[in-house]
C-alpha cells in the first residue's frame, strides 16, 4: 500500500483538466505543462527506485482488497516503462514549444498531451484487465485528437482509418475480456493467472490468448496488422509523431509481454515459440522491407518502428531469462532512440521545409551538429557496438541461437543489416552531398531545436557505455516477470 503509485496517473489527469481553462494563454500553458512534465519525471524515477528497493508495490483503491477491488501494481517492469514514458513526455513537450503552431496550442494540444500520458501511465500501472481496456481507451481517444489536430486533408483522411481500426480492435478487446470473465470469473490479472494455472491452458484459453494477442498486436503494429501505422504517423507534426513512435506501440508490446509472462504461460510451445516467434520474424522482415523501399524521412522511421517492435516480441517468443531481459533493454533503447530520430526528422523538416529525401542534401556543411548527432542515433538504431542498440540486440539474438531458433535469429541479423542500410540512406541523402537548400535555410539557427534532443542522444550513449549495470537491471526485471508467483503473491497477499 503506497499512495505514490497513483500519482503518475492522477497528476497528468488533473493538470490536463486545468490546462483546458488556460487554452488561449500560451505562456501559462507552457509553464504549467513544463513544470508538470519535469515533476512527473522526478516522481517516476523516485517510484522506480522505491520499487527497486522495496519490491512490488500495490495500491488497493478505496481499500477494497485485491480480487474484489481495483488494484494498481507497480513492479520493476512497469516503473521502468513509467520512467521512459516520462522522459519522452518531457523531451517531446520541450520540442513542441519550438515547433508546434500556435493554432494547435489554442486547440487544446497540451490538455490532450497530458491525457495521453494519463492513459499510457495507467496502462502500465493497472493490475486489472478491464482497467487496462479503459486506460487504452483514454490513451487512444487522446491520440485520435492529437493525430487529427490541424485538420489537413491528409490528416483527416488517414485519421478516419486509424480511428476505425482502433474502434474495431477495442471491440475485440471487450470480447476477449468477456471470454476471460466467462472462463475465470475475475478481472484481476493476478487472480486470472492463478485461475488459469488451476485450469491448465487448453482449448478455450488458447483461443482467448490468441484473441488478446491480436488486440495488442493491433496496437503494437505486429505483422499483418501494421498497415495503418506508417500512413497515420506521417501526418502529425514531429513532436506528436515522436511521442507516438516512442510510446504508443510500446504500450501494446508491454501488454503482450505482461499477459504472456503472467497469464498465458502454460502452453509455451504453442503460444510463445509457435505464434509469437513466427509473427515476430515476419514483423521484423516486412517492416524493414517497407523502410528500405521508402524515400521519405518520416516514412522510413515509421516503418522502422514496425521492424523493431519485432525484436521485442522476438525476445518474448524465445522466452528465456536472457531473451526477456534483452527485450526489456531493447524497449528502453528503442523508446529513447526512436523519439530522438523522429525529432531529428522534425528538425530537418523545420530547416528544409520537406521530409522528402530527394529534395534534401548537404545539411552536414551547414548544420554539422545536427548531422553528427543524427548519425549517432542512426547507428544506435542499427546496432553498432558502443551504442545501446548493439547491447540490446545482442542478448536477444544470442539466446535465439542458444535455443536453436536459427531461422528467426538469422532474420534478426539480416534485418539489422537492412536497418543500417536504410539509416545510412537517410544520412546520404539528407546530410551528405551538395547542399540543395537556399542561403536563408542554411543560416537557420538550429540550436534551440537540438536542445531537447541532446538528452536522448546522451542517453543512448550512456546506455551503451553503461550496458553492464543496465543489463543487470533488465535481468532483475526479467527474473521478476518470469516468475509470476512473485506478482501474484504481492497482489493477492496470500
Amino acid at each position: 500500500m503506497n499512495n505514490i503509485v497513483i500519482l503518475p496517473i492522477l497528476i497528468p489527469f488533473i493538470i490536463g483538466a486545468i490546462l483546458i481553462l488556460f487554452a488561449k494563454k500560451h505562456t501559462v500553458q507552457r509553464v504549467i505543462s513544463g513544470v508538470t512534465a519535469i515533476g512527473m519525471l522526478v516522481i517516476s524515477i523516485y517510484l522506480a527506485i522505491y520499487v527497486y528497493q522495496n519490491g512490488i508495490t500495490t495500491l488497493e483503491l478505496g481499500n477494497w482488497s485485491a480480487p474484489f477491488g481495483i488494484v494498481l501494481v507497480a513492479d520493476m517492469f512497469a516503473t521502468l516503462m513509467l520512467v521512459l514514458s516520462s522522459i519522452v513526455g518531457v523531451v517531446c513537450l520541450f520540442f513542441a514549444y519550438q515547433t508546434i503552431s500556435s493554432e494547435r496550442e489554442k486547440y487544446y494540444f497540451y490538455p490532450f498531451y497530458f491525457f495521453l500520458l494519463t492513459g499510457v501511465n495507467g496502462a502500465f500501472l493497472t493490475g486489472d484487465l478491464f482497467n487496462l481496456f479503459v486506460f487504452f481507451e483514454v490513451m487512444l481517444i487522446s491520440s485520435y485528437v492529437l493525430i487529427v489536430m490541424g485538420g489537413t486533408k491528409y490528416q483527416l483522411r488517414e485519421s478516419v482509418k486509424y480511428v476505425v481500426i482502433n474502434v474495431f480492435a477495442s471491440a475485440l478487446f471487450i470480447i476477449a475480456i468477456a471470454y476471460i470473465y466467462a472462463v475465470t470469473g475475475t478481472f484481476n490479472m493476478a487472480h486470472i493467472a492463478e485461475r488459469v494455472a488451476e485450469l491448465e491452458q487448453t482449448g478455450i484459453l488458447n483461443v482467448i490468448a490468441v484473441l488478446l494477442f491480436i488486440v495488442f498486436a493491433m496496437k503494437g503494429a505486429l505483422f499483418p496488422l501494421y498497415f495503418w501505422l506508417p500512413r497515420s504517423y506521417y501526418g502529425p507534426p514531429a513532436a506528436i509523431a515522436a511521442l507516438f513512435g516512442g510510446l504508443l506501440t510500446k504500450v501494446g508490446i508491454y501488454a503482450i509481454i505482461r499477459s504472456f509472462t503472467l497469464i498465458f504461460i502454460h502452453d509455451p510451445t504453442f503460444t510463445h515459440k509457435g505464434i509469437i516467434a513466427t509473427i515476430a520474424g515476419l514483423t521484423m522482415f516486412f517492416g524493414v522491407l517497407g523502410a528500405v523501399s521508402q524515400f521519405d524521412f518520416k516514412r522510413i522511421l515509421s516503418y522502422h518502428i514496425i521492424s523493431q517492435v519485432g525484436y521485442m516480441v522476438m525476445g518474448l517468443g524465445i522466452y528465456t531469462r536472457l531473451a526477456i531481459a534483452g527485450a526489456i533493454f531493447y524497449i528502453a533503447h528503442h523508446i529513447i532512440v526512436k523519439s530522438a530520430l523522429f525529432l531529428f526528422a522534425g528538425a530537418t523538416q523545420r530547416i528544409t521545409g520537406t521530409t522528402d529525401l530527394k529534395q534534401m542534401g548537404g545539411l552536414l556543411k551547414t548544420h554539422p551538429y545536427l548531422a553528427w548527432m543524427f548519425l549517432i542515433g542512426a547507428l544506435s538504431l542499427a546496432g553498432i557496438p558502443p551504442l545501446s542498440g548493439f547491447f540490446s540486440k545482442f542478448p536477444i539474438i544470442l539466446s535465439g541461437f542458444e535455443e536453436g531458433q536459427y531461422v528467426i535469429s538469422g532474420v534478426a541479423l539480416l534485418v539489422g543489416l537492412l536497418t543500417l542500410f536504410s539509416m545510412i540512406k537517410i544520412f546520404n541523402y539528407a546530410f551528405w552531398g551538395e547542399p540543395k537548400h537556399t542561403e536563408e535555410q542554411a543560416n537557420f539557427p538550429v540550436g534551440k531545436l537540438l536542445l531537447p534532443i541532446v538528452p536522448l542522444v546522451a542517453l543512448t550513449i550512456i546506455l551503451g557505455f553503461a550496458a553492464e549495470p543496465v543489463f543487470q537491471y533488465s535481468l532483475q526485471i526479467a527474473d521478476q516477470i518470469m516468475d509470476p508467483s512473485i506478482y501474484i503473491e504481492s497482489v493477492l497477499k496470500e
Binding site: F130, E137, K153, L156, V160, V164, A171, A178, Y181
Partner: protein, 112 residues
C-alpha cells in the same frame, strides 16, 4: 435466454462486419457502432443472465445478480458512445474537406 442473446450477438456482428466492408464512410461508422454493441452485449451475457436482487448486505434474498458485468458494460457503453460521436464529427469534417464519403476515393496516392 442466453441462446437468444447469443443469436442476437451473432446477428449484430454479422451486420457490423458487412457494414464495415462497404465503401460508404457513414456505413462503416454504423458498422463499428453495431460491432461495439455486439461486444457490449457479449460482455453482459458472458457472466450468465440470472434473476436476483442487487447485491446489498442485509437484503436477505434468495439470489443475487452479479454486479460486475453490469458496471463494466456501463463503462464500455459510455466509451463506445464517446468514440462514436468523435468518429461522426471526424467523418463529417472529412466529407466537408474531401467532398466525398466514398472510401475508394479516400485511398490516397503514394507520392504526396
Amino acid at each position: 435466454m442466453e441462446i437468444l442473446m447469443s443469436i442476437m450477438i451473432g446477428v449484430l456482428f454479422t451486420v457490423g462486419t458487412y457494414m464495415l466492408l462497404t465503401r460508404s464512410l457513414l456505413r462503416v461508422i454504423l458498422g463499428t457502432m453495431l460491432m461495439s454493441h455486439g461486444a457490449n452485449l457479449l460482455l453482459f451475457t458472458m457472466a450468465g443472465l440470472q434473476r436476483g436482487v442487487a447485491p446489498l448486505l442485509g437484503s436477505g434474498a434468495e439470489a443475487y445478480a452479479d454486479p460486475l458485468p453490469q458496471a463494466l458494460v456501463l463503462t464500455a457503453i459510455v466509451i463506445s458512445f464517446g468514440v462514436t460521436s468523435f468518429l461522426l464529427v471526424l467523418a463529417y469534417r472529412t466529407y466537408k474537406v474531401h467532398n466525398t464519403d466514398d472510401l475508394d476515393q479516400l485511398r490516397g496516392s503514394v507520392d504526396e
